[in-house]
Symmetry: C2
Subunit: 338 residues, 2 copies
């Protein structure tokens, strides 16, 4: 197995990416293609002192910047580290693609370069949110598909179900909900109202509407929504989390006693941060693509990169796409299959 | 001026509602109709020891429960405290309606009993979120309208603009954005793409797309969205805020040193809570109704009820609806006015 890592993507690239690849290859003995500027990557690799690891550098002369529109990534920058990493999967040289770079571009490359798996019209990006109960809740789709039809959401539900069962292993019979604005059936926008009866027809453990507040309670294992709503929820949550921490900090700074208090609380705050960080789950997979595509946080450090590579390898080892195909066949009644 | 208060709605009703009304009437000398069970309210009023205040009890024999569907509130429970409070505004006996009860029911009563203001097709509910910069960002609509057309969002933008200028007074030329999933024009779902050019045609200070993360930065004064997305964002944020606090608490409980730390930090945490609590803005107004309708938090205490009554009176004192009408005329080009 080889995993193609976009070595130039992310705030701490290429250093953290190279370090993460080394940690991963050393611990698991699985191959990594480091895709990016050859000279820079050779230097970084040397610096780590790593030897005899299954790591290979693939030269790429361009970089997708964090603020470039996704269309550039796919149409124009075909010599970029991200594009070439995706192409390695398309060509079958690598089995998985991992990037900590520009999220929109990584999604575009996963969709258009790596491509959708057989029988899947729209891959969906899944994020595992930490919850009160300790086990994660998977929200899908968080941005790959802006305008969705009901059947897309049904497929997201099966993808999410398979992700929870096979990769996260947090539930044997994942509870699936649809994101809406009220608990009762019949509440929601047109998309929700049209999708609800279809989800009821499936063999999924569908428990009905989930509200915004249910994302963090742990009462659901999978919550489906269109990528517009999901992306807004994801960005709102990320931002709110960091702003709460910042606002508390500002207040704490105002007095020496609170500062001492904060210092005493530090270990507890660190434990909390670890629990709340979805990077712990190795980033967000794009489910339903030909190979495995993992999009991890722009601020990923070496450990987060290693985690993302590990999750990518788990997708391959568990034959995720075969399981997904089986589940689509067994959970969807014939009339819902395309 | 008289404000109709649903005295039976909310987790702490009727006690906190009565106490809040007394605090308000005493400080501002403005009249309050306490709508609810006469015997109970008389007893509660007596308990406060209040005398010679412009408070009048209006008997209502039913109560809308927190979990009842909004349709019940409007169609069946026409003797409820909430329904009758709304009707006092419709009949012109009161100028404003305030409820801490069932939010969906309060919205339904504001829309169908109080009714839309002249020239407004869809009232929108606005929430002022606390931001990093200290000044609030208003999100509108957060749940009154599930499926929206572009012109509804344009009207929400003018309502939000007027709310920021006349009531919150946090900006002279409010920056208006539309909630989407990417900064550039052309990003978003069909509704966003169709609304964007219309907002550009207005005299509003329209600055383009806002992302989920922009809700808390303070870079926007008003962000418009449809009520489906807005409601999910609101509930996600409320829930995430309380879950972060709870998760931190759980970690703190694990060691005596962190507990001491937390105790020392208490004043700072309280200041933070005050800043982050949107009840400080007196609850969420439903903009574009005939009278003023304020929906405040179910957990409202006496101070929050007093705040909500105060905001309601400010809407009347500033002649909010006249200002809104003027703004619709001056900010929307003729071809956009209905």
């Amino acid at each position: 197995m080889y995993i193609a890592l976009d070595a130039m993507g992310g705030d701490n690239a290429p250093r953290s990416n190279v370090e993460g690849a080394v940690l991963f290859a050393r611990e698991y003995g699985i191959g990594v293609y480091l895709v990016g500027d050859k000279d820079i990557l050779e230097k970084e690799l040397k610096r780590t002192g790593a030897k005899n690891l299954p790591i290979e550098i693939i030269h790429a002369e361009e970089i997708i910047e964090m603020d470039e529109p996704p269309s550039t990534a796919v149409r124009r920058k075909r010599k970029s580290s991200m594009y070439l990493a995706g192409r390695l999967v398309r060509e079958g040289r690598a089995q998985a693609f991992v990037s900590a770079g520009n999220t929109g571009a990584a999604m575009a490359i996963s969709k258009f370069v790596v491509g959708a798996a057989e029988g899947i019209e729209r891959p969906g990006i899944a994020v595992a949110f930490p919850t009160k109960k300790g086990k994660p809740t998977v929200l899908i789709d968080v941005g790959a598909n802006v305008d969705c039809r009901p059947m897309h959401l049904v497929y997201f539900a099966v993808m999410g179900h398979t992700y929870v069962k096979e990769i996260l292993k947090s539930s044997e019979s994942p509870k699936v909900g649809i994101l809406s604005i009220g608990e009762e059936e019949g509440k929601g926008n047109d998309l929700v109202k049209d999708t609800y009866p279809l989800l009821k027809m499936t063999g999924l453990n569908f428990v009905g509407n989930a509200e915004g507040r249910d994302i963090f309670t742990g009462d659901f294992d999978v919550i489906v929504c269109d990528g517009f709503v999901g992306n807004i929820v994801l960005k709102t949550s990320e931002s709110l989390g960091s702003i709460i921490v910042e606002m508390i900090k500002q207040e704490v700074e105002k007095s020496i006693i609170s500062k001492i208090g904060a210092a005493l609380m530090l270990p507890a705050l660190k434990r909390f941060k670890k629990k709340a960080d979805y990077a712990e789950y190795g980033g967000a997979p794009l489910l339903g693509t030909k190979g495995t595509c993992i999009i991890t946080h722009g601020s990923a450090d070496a450990k987060a990169i290693k985690n993302a590579l590990k999750v990518a390898s788990q997708f391959e080892e568990t034959h995720f796409n075969d399981k997904l195909k089986e589940n689509l066949e067994s959970l969807l009644p014939k009339e819902l299959r395309e």
